[in-house]
């Protein structure tokens, strides 16, 4: 199975990278942007007997390692043979 994890900075955390990307885009003429947030995308190939199990394992990975709850939120989707569910 494939797990797609997205980790984003919490809204309260200022995101210097996002600010810089926004400025960069603006100087390139993309002025229609009102806000940019930059986070991480983590793709995991994993073995799991069921989607449910996979979900629990990935949840645990996020809690322990992939995200820092002080500054980050996370969400993920599991792909089992082509079907995605959040």
């Amino acid at each position: 199975m494939i797990a797609r994890v997205i980790v984003t900075p919490k809204p309260v955390v200022n995101d210097p990278q996002g600010i810089t990307v926004k400025q960069g885009l603006a100087t390139l003429g993309f002025r229609e942007i009102s806000d940019v947030r930059v986070g991480k995308y983590i793709e995991l190939n994993l073995e799991a007997s069921s989607e449910h199990e996979a979900r629990e394992r990935v949840e645990a990975m996020c809690e322990q390692l992939l995200a820092n709850h002080v500054i980050e939120d996370y969400r993920f989707e599991i792909e089992t043979d082509g079907h995605k569910r959040r």
Binding site: P9, V12, V13, N14, P16, Q17, T20, K40, L65, L66, N68, V70, I71
Partner: protein, 234 residues
Amino acid sequence: MKFGVVVFPGTWSDRDCGWVIDQVLGAELQYLWHKDADLKGCDCIILPGGFAYGDYLRTGAIARFAPVMEKIGDFADRGGLVWGICNGFQVLCEAGLLPGALIRNASLEFRCQWTNLVVERTDLPFTSQCAEREVIRVPISHGEGNYFADPATLSRLEQRGQVVFRYCDATGRVTNAANPNGSMHNIAGIVNARGNVLGMMPHPERCAEAELGGTDGLKLFRSVAAGAMKVLVS
């Protein structure tokens, strides 16, 4: 007084800390390998600077799970001295031994330069040799030293006086201009409520000899050593 210096894969200030402890301070030095869950009877554990595990994913994120960290957690709970410098500070935050987190510098650039720090606590084992609100010169060298904590945590830190070092100008004024990385409240270093776990981004081990540009860093090492002496006599 026995200093333990932790070595993770990717750590590099271990040798600089070791040099200062052994050659400049003349205290006992013990390197602690990340895989060994054994503190070898050290009195003060230093988590040095570097890029443990490349700082991949997040600074300190992977290092905090090293076997040695569990022992360090217990050691801290028992009141043992734990001192995180730069990457070590980041590890301590990830491990939850200190509150908050260190994010990308506001400039998004790595910064290696001298900074002025105002010392706001001198009643700690780490700073006893510093004068009240003394301004010390210590270099920083990091890309992710921008201290963040949520408002509640931050005010708790301030109320309990857990902010030990703040970036300031040469005269001790805490200004935006003197803030090299965007840290909230110009925070350069904090201590836990009990006062035995210190985390700081600047590198005191880089300014313990005049030929390197300054000796203020040595005061911190001396403080720890002196503290131990007190314990011995009392």
